[in-house]
Symmetry: C2
DNA sequence: ACATTACGTGACCAGCCGGTAACGTATTGA
DNA sequence: TCAATACGTTACCGGCTGGTCACGTAATGT
């Protein structure tokens, strides 16, 4: 949780393509080519560069399976940042966070259908 | 909350100096010169550029008081982002964030009379 | 009136960032 | 074996970003 690490996380999260990759990996691990194909408007290398940024920020982990590379989301750095900001800005939104918790409770009571909004 | 807006927020938050300015404004409004003086290693213009980025991302609002300009934090865009990410990544950190939310709830119930800093 | 204080801007520059084209490596199946 | 598949890299580039220096504007106190 040192400053350099969180700064790298922020930098990694600041790009919309990289956030879209994380969105994709939320639904489960993906091999590299599958991620690349998700962005037909970008070259393969462009996507892989983003992937490398995410890897060095430890937001994505990759393991080899034969000639396939499986990329998985690691949400820990995001959690660290969010947790930090929740504590830092607590005075500014305590009531809002209560609403967030209510949403979460309702959602877990309803069903487990996931929504896919891109931020 | 369209995509452009939240992207601008992310970009604004991606710089450590800008996050430090927000940190400063958490403690209350500051006039422009006071913010500038907080960063002796930077030129005044550099700080003001960062301030302008924060203003156009609506993270900082500024009002005139005579020849003084008072800058205030607006945490709403941060709250929006965090709220979204809490919901999106809910499955990845169930216990930790619930604890944080419980803390917020207890605190808001304890000190309902205590107003937060004027924004 | 006018120096002082507070704030803002124009012009410019180096370096990083996100992107492409082309090429290289390694595992696998027929 | 060797073409196909999956993945990665070298070389390069335009534009954005974060920074500087110098200058400009506007309200205030005396």
């Amino acid at each position: 949780m040192n400053k350099h690490d969180s700064d790298e996380t922020w930098k990694a999260l600041s790009d919309p393509t990289r956030r879209a990759i994380l969105d994709l990996l939320r639904d489960g691990p993906r091999q590299t080519t599958a991620i690349v194909e998700q962005f037909p408007e970008l070259s393969r290398f462009a996507v892989m560069k983003h992937l490398n940024v995410l890897r060095s920020a430890k937001l994505v982990t990759t393991r080899s399976e034969g000639r396939v590379r499986v990329n998985s989301l690691n949400a820990a750095p995001i959690r660290d940042i969010i947790e930090r900001w929740i504590n830092k800005y607590e005075a500014y939104w305590s009531n809002t966070l209560l609403r967030v918790r209510d949403d979460a409770e309702q959602k877990s009571q309803r069903s487990t259908s996931k929504k896919r909004n891109s931020v």
